[in-house]
């Protein structure tokens, strides 16, 4: 976990370090003079070697000091602390929505593969995976904000304004999760223990929800964990379309204004979130699958 975080910050720092633009020109703008540029460079520590710069950045990062914005000279942490909760709310609602809707869909399509419902679900998944988020967002804005006038098209004022963004964000993941759920459910319905359960007279509902579901959930959890990154990428688009002041929008704005510390901090924080989520997925996996836990336990004993 810790090496991964350091590695992530290193990769992002390296990309930004290698960028050809001149930092002093961004900060000073039209007041640029060679002397002024020299002072700025010294103050930012840009005259040191790459490794020195990176280590001091890393140390500051761990202490919660993400540097000072090049554009409005405020600490980056202030902007992040405003933006981060908005993105967190959006992503959590979207993930919940996606899980709550797609797991039952996946189960139903697996149990009754030839029903009309399954047909609809398959087509929906096909379109959901391939539909670009920004386009779906605009279509939903047209329908619900412009024609029906039910929901606001932008901003983050009340609970209503979070509905459309979270639907857009969860859509493609619903498709992915329900597909995964369906295929792993079909597989687990074919196993021997399900046949045994059926033979001893367990009701079909009991088989589906008790015997098959728990094992079918395992690959789905992995998939959900791996979707967090995609979701944060999607949040960038969603926040731009719906004008939500979150991490994604902060990142886009700072990219457009060449505000390097801000870009660095935003990308690093998002990546750390992904790292944490994949760790959580691994832990959940172990919780749901005693076989893995047992393997670790045995490993510890033998050591």
């Amino acid at each position: 976990m810790v090496p991964v975080v350091i590695g992530v910050i290193f990769v992002v720092y390296l990309i930004m370090y290698l960028s050809p633009g001149d930092v002093t020109a961004t900060i000073l703008g039209s007041n640029w003079t060679p002397e002024g540029a020299e002072i700025i460079r010294e103050r930012l520590g840009l005259d040191r070697s790459f490794i020195e710069q990176f280590i001091s950045y890393l140390v500051n990062f761990v202490h919660g000091d993400f540097g000072i914005s090049y554009i409005n000279s405020t600490p980056v942490i202030d902007q992040l602390s405003v933006a981060f909760p908005n993105t967190l709310i959006l992503v959590i609602i979207s993930i919940t929505l996606a899980i709550v809707l797609s797991i039952p869909i996946g189960i139903r399509t697996a149990v009754k593969p030839n029903s009309i419902f399954s047909g609809f679900a398959t087509v929906f998944a096909m379109i959901g995976i391939a539909a670009p988020g920004f386009w779906i967002a605009l279509l939903l804005v047209l329908l619900f904000s412009v024609y029906l006038g039910w929901l606001p098209a932008s901003g983050m004022e009340n609970w209503k304004s979070i509905i459309l963004p979270s639907i857009v964000l969860s859509l493609s993941f619903m498709a992915g999760i329900s597909r995964m759920m369906r295929s792993s459910m079909i597989e687990s319905l074919r196993t021997d223990y399900v046949r045994t359960a059926r033979a001893k007279g367990v009701k079909p509902k009991g088989i589906t929800y008790v015997h098959a579901l728990k094992n079918a959930l395992l690959p789905t959890i992995t998939v959900i964990g791996s979707y967090t990154g995609e979701m944060l990428g999607g949040a960038v688009i969603c926040e731009t379309v719906f004008a939500i002041p979150g991490m994604g929008r902060l990142m886009i704005e700072s990219v457009l204004s060449h505000d390097v510390p801000c870009v660095l901090a935003a990308v690093s924080v998002m990546s750390i979130c992904v790292a944490i989520m994949s760790l959580v997925a691994d832990l959940l996996y172990a919780y749901f699958d005693p076989r893995i836990k047992a393997r670790y336990m045995r490993g510890r004993v033998s050591r």
């Binding site: 096909m126 539909a131 688009i237 994949s278």
Partner: protein, 303 residues
């Protein structure tokens, strides 16, 4: 069946085997693929887009129809002359769509080629050498996987500018984390085969073994993964362009067209339909073909 079609001159045992295998292998794959109606639909859509892109200049000239503004005809609703209507600058949307297909297909395919080449090198080294090298390379890939794909692409484009080459590299690099894992596991599954041992016993060099014996036998999963990656990259590139970080305004890129239409969509909703549909259809087509190929090339991977 195919044995009956064999020419009389192939009657020697060697020739017979050769002819028999050649027809049956390709035919077998095509049989599975063509039985899959959705995969055929995907293939059909791709062919339509490729033909339109190839003959884009014949159907509508780039300079005079797709780029040149024509203020008199702005906001023409879809009609016989302009089947998708005209945009805010009076340009025919259909002409821009087919020229946009050139951009999207070119960038999508090129970026996947870059990504696949990199992944083959990384995955083959990690999978074939194993041990410490494998550990190091895969930890590095774990780190890359933590940075959300779209966010990584934005960071690269932000650092180095949004030229077409940079876009291709950014999209290519952001596919490496997932793809190199596929290559690695495929390489590991053939690494210990007897024919590899035989090649080693014959004294062939490691490079030759990897290229001629290992990668050749890993082609199936790599092709499947690459086809699916084209779909995601087409979507990512249009998302980047939509955010104003990919292809810039006068060039008819689909995401860019949606972004341009956004300001006028309240009055003229038809503006956003066609470009978004193109992204959806092309991404869906590559997904369908990828799934079809997975079933045709490797029955073991069947969902």
């Amino acid at each position: 069946m195919s044995a009956t079609t064999i020419n009389r001159s192939d009657i020697t045992r060697k020739g017979y085997m050769k002819a028999y295998r050649k027809t049956s292998r390709a035919k077998e794959m095509w049989d599975v693929f063509s039985n899959n109606r959705t995969a055929l639909l995907g293939l059909f859509i791709i062919v339509v887009f490729v033909v339109l892109a190839l003959f884009a200049n014949v159907i509508a000239d780039y300079e005079t129809v797709a780029i040149k503004t024509n203020p008199i005809e702005r906001f023409t609703k879809p009609c016989a002359e302009h089947i998708f209507g005209t945009d805010e600058l009076g340009r025919d949307i259909f002409a821009r769509i087919i020229h946009g297909a050139r951009v999207s297909l070119r960038l999508g395919v090129l970026s996947v080629m870059v990504g696949t080449a990199l992944s083959c090198i990384i995955g083959a080294i990690a999978g074939y050498v194993g041990g410490v090298v494998d550990d190091l390379v895969m930890r590095a890939m774990d780190i890359m996987a933590c940075i959300p794909r779209l966010v990584l692409a934005i960071a690269i484009v932000a650092a180095f500018g949004s030229s077409e080459v940079n876009l291709v590299v950014a999209m290519g690099v952001s596919t490496v984390a997932a793809m190199s894992r596929v290559v690695r596991s495929a390489v590991m599954s053939v690494r210990d085969m007897e024919y590899i041992e035989a090649a080693r016993a014959l004294g062939q060099s490691t490079t030759k073994i990897i290229v001629h014996h290992i990668l050749v036998n890993c082609v199936a999963p790599i092709i499947v993964q690459a086809t699916l990656a084209i779909a995601t990259n087409i979507m990512s590139i249009s998302s980047l362009s939509f955010l104003g970080m990919g292809i810039a305004a006068p060039i008819p890129e689909w995401g860019c067209m949606v972004a341009g239409a956004r300001d006028y969509m309240r009055q003229h909703p038809y503006l956003v339909i066609a470009p978004g549909m193109s992204i959806l259809l092309s991404a869906m087509a590559f997904n369908l073909v990828g799934d079809g190929l997975r079933d045709a090339l490797d029955p073991k991977l069947k969902r």
